[in-house]
């Protein structure tokens, strides 16, 4: 972490949309720094302006005010050809044409470097091979992209960005339509790439849990339409995270680091006792039904869980009857 340096920075940046009549500010007072060798996560609810920010600092959209620098150079003075060697994108649109092979798709990333007919030299090929190797997509080199799963396709798109050989990579919601194992895999991959290759990787996401576990730094969109930055844990502890995602019906669980919905009905307090893992899932079920879980043994209902993970037993208030499943327990309680 010590040898990471700032590669992209903004000062008093304001972003939004402007045409003749309207002047809509989406986010303002942005003082951001993107560092090499780090995975930075731009975190915010849907519609909070994450994509607008990525487009603006990616040089696609003009800012409303303030300045942006790539290293020490003003972003506006960098032309699109130079920018293509500094910054690569992975976008949300699932647009890859199906009848390109994985290799052909990744090799498109060499566009800024290859000859005018798009022929690749040894350096290009070495970079492509490295990109596919680093993302674990070498096995898809001869597979048509249309035959890949969403997760595999996303990894190929990341490989394409790596092939572009830029010190900065932006990813717009890279895990948006992926299932949990794929999301975890992509986040891990990006974190590892940032650390091993020294690239500055910025991704936008609304998935708090993923960002908290994997990001080196958060850019958190706040309700005041600006962004605060910091190490994820700091932002949890000082309450920024709770504020930025706040909804009236949600409460932030500081122990878990995620929001939960408060059930409308408030039932009795329950005390659960037993092995940690079984307590956790029992609690999960009871909370859904509106029971308050307390740590006081004097609670009106006491539940005892015992046994192993694959043969648990529940007992209510030390009665004789035991329940083998949570379903039975919920019926009786």
């Amino acid at each position: 972490m010590s040898d990471s340096k700032t590669i992209l920075s903004t000062q008093n940046l304001a972003i939004g949309y402007k045409n003749k009549r309207t002047h809509k500010v989406v986010l303002s007072n942005l003082d951001l720094t993107l560092k090499t060798g780090e995975l930075t996560c731009l975190l915010g609810p849907n519609g909070s302006g994450k994509s607008t920010l990525l487009r603006t600092i990616g040089g696609v959209q003009k800012p409303l005010g303030g300045e942006m620098r790539l290293g020490s150079v003003l972003l506006e003075s960098v032309n699109s050809k130079e920018l293509a060697r500094m910054l690569s994108l992975v976008l949300t649109d699932r647009s890859a044409p199906g009848n390109l092979t994985g290799y052909a798709l990744v090799s498109l990333g060499r566009f800024p470097y290859s000859s005018w007919m798009g022929n690749l030299d040894e350096k290009d090929e070495a970079q492509i091979h490295w990109a596919m190797d680093a993302t674990g997509t070498t096995e898809f080199a001869n597979t048509h992209v249309g035959e890949l799963s969403d997760g595999e396709k996303q990894k190929v798109m990341i490989a394409r960005a790596l092939a572009q050989d830029t010190p900065i990579i932006f990813l717009d919601e890279p895990t948006a339509h992926l299932d949990l194992p794929n999301r975890i895999e992509i986040f891990h991959l990006l974190r590892e790439l940032a650390v091993t290759s020294g690239k500055a990787i910025l991704l936008s996401s609304h998935e708090m849990d993923m960002a908290l576990t994997n990001a080196d730094r958060l850019w958190l969109v706040t309700p005041e339409q600006t962004i605060i930055t910091g190490v994820p844990e700091d932002l949890v502890i000082n309450g920024s995270l709770e504020k930025s995602f706040a909804r009236e019906t949600l409460t932030f669980d500081y122990a878990v680091g995620s929001f939960k919905k408060e059930s409308g009905v408030n039932r009795k307090g329950v005390y659960i006792q037993g092995p940690d893992i079984l307590v956790k899932w029992t609690r999960n079920a009871l909370e859904r039904y509106g029971y308050g879980i307390t740590t006081k043994e004097t609670a009106s209902i006491k539940i005892n869980v015992s046994g192993e993970l694959n043969s648990p037993e529940w007992r209510i208030d030390n009665q004789q009857i035991t329940y083998k499943t949570i379903e039975q327990l919920l019926k009786e309680i």
Binding site: L87, T101, S107, A141, N142
Partner: protein
Amino acid sequence: MKEVGNIVLDTPRVHLKWQSIVWLALLLLLLFLLDVGLGSVKIPISDVFKTLLGRPIDNEAWQAIILKIRLPRSITAILAGAALSIGGLQMQTLFRNPLAGPSVLGITAGASLGVAAVMLAAGSATTAFSIHQLGIGGSWLIIIAATLGGALVLIAILAISFKIRDNVVMLIVGIMVANITIAIVSIWQFFSDPEQIQEYILWTFGSLGGVTNKQLGVLSIIVSLGVLFTFFLSKTLNVLLLGENYAQSMGLNIRRSRFMIIGVTSLLAGAITGFCGPIGFVGIAVPHLTRSFLNTSDHRVLVPSCVLVGGILMLLCDIISQVPGSQTVLPVNAVTAMIGSPIVIWIIIKRRNLKSSF
């Protein structure tokens, strides 16, 4: 070939594709000879070869038929097939839409408008005279009118293309411009005499036979330049496969690329429409056939292949339209669609990889 881990990376499977291109070229040559050899007048195959190789044959009438009628006709077929296919390929890639073709931007409609203006509106006596003097297809007047009409729409489209960022909007604008142009022609037809309409309709059937040797020189130069230019655009077309946003992020100048792609497509489509009439279908079908057969989206392979497949399809249609062994000649426009559509349906259903191309 390179070894990476245990997996062999065959750097894009180009060898196989070049093989297919050689086969396509041979097929094109075969059909070309067939097209020149077959017709309403039976000419022995040995005499056909002799004439093509520039040796004199006894029957001067046969020699004239081959050199002045059949040869220009066959070459026109290849040029038309190549130009329209290349145009269609570029439009499908630029707009990332399987239904796009060279006629999608209204260039063909513009050319039709030009021809309609000459045939329907201008003093009917003079046009009728000049058309009958020179023959409908072979009239420079018609060619110039079609070119001007196409160019007019082209200028409008290019002007709009610089104002618009979004390719989808561009596509819709193009279709609408085409519709307006067609509507003007319809109104014109409504107020015209039946004889004039008949002549116009004859032109819309399309004809490969009207191009004279002199005109063929002009047409070949335009088409060759267009094809060559498109081949040089391969890299741009390839990166556009990922969509404008990615293309831009890799440093592609979207507006300039679009200008060039639309410009070269219009030139190709406009020239063919001017010389041969509005030939539909080929421009949409051939890129699909080619992608389906070769199973690639790499334009460095697709551009030359589309030229060959387009030429093959047009030659095939021309052979059929002349109904070998009879005196009848069917309109080429009807034949392309009638013969081509079932082939395309069959291949697309069989291959099932059309949808994944977009």
